[in-house]
Symmetry: C2
Subunit: 203 residues, 2 copies
DNA sequence: CCCATTATAATGAGGT
DNA sequence: ACCTCATTTGCTTCAC
DNA sequence: GTGAAGCAACGGTTCA
DNA sequence: TGAACCGTATAATGGG
């Protein structure tokens, strides 16, 4: 499941990635909250939305865009608050969480770290065999994150994500450690995977 | 209940404010999470802690420090994520949430916007008749936020907080609006209350 | 293959 | 409902 | 009383 | 276990 966190609009996309680099869209949803409501209520609404989807689709992993702040603290904070409840909801269900920066996402789907939104939308549509471009903008991003993670984590490649079992411990720890020990003699895909996991683990 | 949000250490303080400007400490707790754990798990732990306390003490209001970011985005974001789950937990229980800036808090309890930590700790201890200074530093801050809100919201004064009932709508909206309509002819306490609420409502 | 540089967002309000 | 555009912290304190 | 300026924190690691 | 100190973003792109 990919998530594009935001206070006013939070995008969720459930995708089934295939070994052959394509994917199937199982669900898309953009939860909107109006500024008329109390902030706490808005955050709660997002949490509820996330919970519902996680329960309904029980994804193997939750991929979410890392929050970035450049000269707009308030919005970044609000976004972070929203992302907080989402990742907590995942953790409560033993679902591993992976973070990806916007650049990673764009680069993953378009092979160009600085591709405009349209390019991303088009690629997403192609990869998922969508009839048209994803309707709400935030849906596109949610899709993209999901795809990005699928790619980088190696879903459909030689490696698969192992679902987290314990509530107490990060799921990927074991795999990570194993990979880290043999830091040499890996294919490009393996390196990419390791790097991605290592990075994701830092947060 | 006052909250000092943080990822590694999150302080919670339950206080019963008295009409005579003093208060009684009902509970203090600092939830700590180690960086060994997965971030999602850490956030979840904080959420759980908040939930437990909210259920146990059913406070009239949750007062929390507003997150501030200047030259440290990552930290601010983590803090915000933590605060997110806390306020969501409150919202889920229909408990109104109020935000206060660090300056407000310090100024409220020490009459000096830029008082050092010790001064705050001492004042808190005095106000609450504590045997000694609050043990974990974060506890002090949690206490202070609670006291600050009690003061500024007028708990123990002529006005009391009304608990939120609906999940869907901000609790204070009605009160706020009523107060805003008659913006004149109020006592200092009334003005303070109105201002505090108005400010709190913005976020 | 390694190093330096640089680009990066989201909200709220208002109009269509 | 979608899209476009502009904005980008807030409070205490001190000086006047 | 009004207006202008300055300042605010936390996480990770290491040591006692 | 608790206290003090230091740093404060990241990753893709392009060039050496």
């Amino acid at each position: 499941m990919g998530v594009d966190p935001g206070l006013t609009r939070c995008g969720f996309a459930v995708v089934q990635m295939q070994p052959n680099r394509s994917g199937e869209s199982l669900h898309v949803e953009v939860k909107g909250t109006s500024s008329d409501e109390d902030l706490a209520v808005r955050i709660l609404a997002i949490q509820r939305a996330a919970e519902q989807l996680l329960d309904e689709f029980a994804p193997d992993v939750l991929a979410i865009e890392r929050v970035f702040s450049s000269a707009n603290a308030p919005t970044a904070i609000a976004t972070a608050q929203a992302s907080g409840v989402v990742i907590a909801a995942a953790a409560a269900r033993g679902i591993p969480v992976a973070w990806h920066t916007p650049s990673e996402v764009k680069a993953a789907v378009t092979d160009d770290g600085r591709a405009d939104k349209d390019a991303v939308a088009r690629m997403v549509a192609r990869i998922l065999n969508l009839p048209g471009l994803p309707k709400p903008v935030d849906a596109t991003d949610a899709y993209a994150v999901a795809i990005c993670h699928g790619w980088r984590s190696g879903v459909g490649a030689k490696f698969n994500m192992t679902a987290a079992t314990a509530t107490h411990q990060g799921a990927r720890t074991a795999l990570q450690k194993a990979a880290a020990q043999r830091s040499t003699g890996m294919t490009a895909a393996q390196r990419a995977w390791q790097d991605a996991e290592r990075r994701a683990a830092r947060r």
